[in-house]
Amino acid sequence: MPDRRSFLTGLFALGLCPSVTWADAGSPAFLSAARKPDGTYALFGISEQGRTIFEIALPGRGHAAAAHPHRPEAVAFARRPGNFALALDCRTGETIGELHSPKGHHFQGHGAFSEDGSLLYTAENDYDYARGVIGVWDAAHGYKRIGEFASHGVGPHDVKLMPDKQHLVIANGGIETHPDSGREKLNIPTMKPSLAYVTLKGELLEMVELPHAMHKNSIRHLSVGEDGLVAFAMQWEGDISDSPAMLGLHRRGEDPRLLLAPEDEQRELKGYVGSVALDSEQKLLAASSPRGGVVHQFDSDTGEFLGAIHEEDVCGLAVRDHKLARTSGMGIVCFSEEMAGTQMDKTRVTHRYQWDNHLVPIS
C-alpha cells in the first residue's frame, strides 16, 4: 500500500492536485519565447489582453514551447538543431528538468504532452541514421527519458496530440540535416515529407504523402482541430517562382486537400509558412509567412481563401476562444475577431520583445 506521501506525489504528478494550476502562474493565455532589447532571450506568459504576465530567462534563442495541460509547466525547446530543452515551473521560473537529447539526436523544436500530462513526446532527428524519432519523457518524474519510437519519416519537426488523446500526428519535414553541416539541407532532390499518425506507442496507423510534384514541400507545422481535422503548413524547397500550395488539410482516411490563395496573394508567402492555426468550430484556418509579412486565412470547410492580414515579420499564430492571435518579430501581439466576414484587429499591443516563431495557447 502506498504511503501518504507517495500518494500525494502521485496525485501531484498526474496534475490532479487542484492547488497547482496555470492560475497560479497568473493564468496566461499564451506562451511565447522572445529576444529582449538587451539581446537576451526569455519565455513569456502572455495575457488575454496581450500583456506579459511572467518572464523566465532562457540561455539562448527558443523555437517553440510545449505547455503542460494542467500544471503551470512549460518545456522550452532551443532553436533547431538543439540538444537540450528546459522544463520550467512558470510560477517560480525555476528549472524543474533538463532534457538532453540522446547522443546522435537533435531536438527539432516541438513537443507534445499526453492528455494527463504525464508524458512528453519530442520530435527528434537521429542524424547519423537520417531517421526521425519521437522521444518519450516522463514528465511526472523530472522529465527523464523513458523511450522512443520511429516518426516514420525523416526530419520530424512538429508533433501534436490528436483530439481523441490516443494518437499523435507527426509532421515529417523530410529534410535530412547533420550537425557536421549545421542547418544545411542534405537531401533536397530526394526528400519525401509526410504526415504520420501513430498510436502513443508509436504504431503507424496512417501515412499521408503528397503527390511527387510536391515532394520538395517540407511539411513542418501542425494545428489540430477539435474534430480531428489536421492543418499542415509547409516550406517549399523548390524553385520559388513555382509558388505552390503551402498549406493543407487532412482528415484521417481521406485524401489531403491543398489550399491555394489567388495567384498574387499566394506569391506573397514566398514559399514559406512559419506557423499555422486552425479553429475547426469557427472553420477558420490561418497561416503566417514572416518572409512575406502576411497571414492568410481560409475557410477550413470549403477551402475558400478569405483574405490576407499584412504584418511585418509576423510568425506566431494561435486560436483561443475563437480569437485569432498573432505575434511578430516587431514586438506586436494582436488579437483579431471575425466581423462582417473578415478578420478585424481588436487588440494590438506593442512590446519591445521580438516574439519568436511560435505562440502556444494554454488550454
Binding site: L58, H310, E312, V314, G329, M339, R352, Q354
Partner: protein
C-alpha cells in the same frame, strides 16, 4: 550555461540605448503635430458633414458630396493610426470598413433601404447595425452608385443622416479619448498601455510601415489583381473617383509621421518624395486604367516606389529607433 539561467519576473527592464534618437522627445511631437491635429480635423469635418446632410440632402447633392469628400480626406490623414481610441468599440471599423471582400456593404445597405428598416430613422439604433453599413464606404454607395442614388430621397436621406451622425460621434469619441488621457499615456509611457517610450515609438513605427504596406498591397494591389485578370472594380472608393487620391493622402500622412519620427532625415524622406512624384504623374483617379498595359505599368512603378520607401524606413529609420527587423523572416524554421 543552462544551470545559471537567471529567473526574472516581469517588469524588470533596464533602459537600453536605442539607436541615436531621443525617443522620449519624439513622441510628444508626433502626438501634438500629427495625431491630435489629424483627429481634430476628422472630428470637425465629420461634424460639418452631419450638419450638411440633413440640410442639403435631396436638394443640393453637390454640397453633400463636398462635405463628404472633405471628411474622407481627413480620415485618410489618420487612417494609418490603428491603435488606441480608434480601436475602442470598433470606432475605426465603423468609420472605414474596407476592403469589403464579401460585398457585405451593398448587401446590407440594400436590405436596410428595401425594408425601410426602422434603424434608418433612429440614430441610436443605427449604431447597432453591421459595421459594413456604417461609415465612409457605405456612404459612398449612397452618394455615387447608380444602384442607390435612385432610391426615394426620403429613405436615402434618412439613412445618410443617421450615417453622418454616427460618423461624427465616432470621430468625436476618438478625439475625446486622445485628448482626455490617451495622448498622456503615450507621452508619459510609464503605464500599462505603454510601459516605456520604446514601446510607444514602436507602435508609431509599425503604424507607419503597416500603413505604407496597406497602400502598396491593398489600395494598389487589389485593383491590380493579376496581369491576366486586373480588377479595377476592387479599387478603393472608385465610385467617387478617390482611389488615386487615397494613395496620395496616405503617402502624405505617412511622410509626415516618418519625418517626425526620423527628425527630418533626408534619407527617410527620399522614398516618399519619389513615390509622391509618381502619383502626381498619374492621371487615373479611379484606377480604371489598370486594365490597360500602360496603366498597369504605372501602378506597378508606384507600388515598387512605396515598397522601396518601406525598405528605406527599415534601413534608415528603424535603427535610429532601436528596432531590428527580420527576426523571424530571416530565421528559416
Amino acid at each position: 550555461m543552462w544551470k545559471y539561467c537567471l529567473v526574472l519576473f516581469c517588469l524588470l527592464s533596464s533602459p537600453v540605448l536605442a539607436g541615436e534618437a531621443d525617443i522620449a522627445a519624439i513622441i510628444p511631437k508626433v502626438v501634438h503635430q500629427h495625431i491630435l491635429p489629424g483627429y481634430e480635423r476628422l472630428a470637425a469635418t465629420t461634424a460639418t458633414l452631419a450638419d450638411v446632410v440633413p440640410a442639403s440632402c435631396g436638394r443640393d447633392p453637390e454640397a453633400v458630396k463636398g462635405a463628404y469628400n472633405k471628411a474622407f480626406d481627413a480620415w485618410m490623414m489618420v487612417s494609418h493610426l490603428r491603435f488606441g481610441p480608434s480601436e475602442q468599440k470598433n470606432r475605426a471599423f465603423a468609420l472605414a470598413f474596407w476592403p469589403d471582400t464579401r460585398g457585405f456593404t451593398p448587401k446590407t445597405l440594400a436590405s436596410l433601404l428595401r425594408d425601410d428598416d426602422p434603424v434608418i430613422h433612429d440614430a441610436e439604433k443605427f449604431r447597432t447595425v453591421s459595421i459594413a453599413a456604417r461609415g465612409f464606404y457605405p456612404m459612398e454607395f449612397l452618394l455615387y452608385d447608380d444602384a442607390f442614388t435612385g432610391n426615394p430621397a426620403a429613405n436615402r436621406c434618412a439613412l445618410l443622416t443617421v450615417m453622418a451622425k454616427d460618423m461624427a460621434e465616432n470621430a468625436a469619441a476618438i478625439l475625446k479619448d486622445w485628448q482626455g488621457g490617451y495622448a498622456e499615456l503615450m507621452i508619459k509611457a510609464d503605464n500599462d498601455t505603454y510601459r516605456e517610450p520604446e514601446e510607444a515609438v514602436r507602435q508609431l513605427y509599425t503604424a507607419l510601415t503597416t500603413g505604407l504596406q496597406f497602400t502598396a498591397q491593398t489600395r494598389l494591389g487589389r485593383p491590380m489583381g493579376s496581369y491576366s485578370k486586373p480588377r479595377p472594380s476592387r479599387a478603393e472608393a472608385w465610385r467617387s473617383g478617390r482611389s488615386l487620391r487615397h494613395v496620395l493622402l496616405s503617402l502624405e500622412a505617412n511622410r509626415q509621421l516618418a519625418s517626425l519620427l526620423s527628425e527630418e532625415d533626408a534619407d527617410v524622406d527620399r522614398g516618399f518624395d519619389r513615390a509622391i512624384r509618381i502619383v502626381e504623374g498619374i492621371d487615373d483617379p479611379s484606377f480604371a486604367g489598370v486594365a490597360t498595359v500602360q496603366g498597369r505599368v504605372r501602378l506597378e512603378a508606384l507600388q515598387g516606389a512605396i515598397t522601396l520607401t518601406n525598405d528605406l524606413l527599415a534601413e534608415y529609420l528603424a535603427p535610429r529607433l532601436g528596432i531590428t527587423a527580420g527576426f523571424n523572416a530571416l530565421d528559416g524554421d
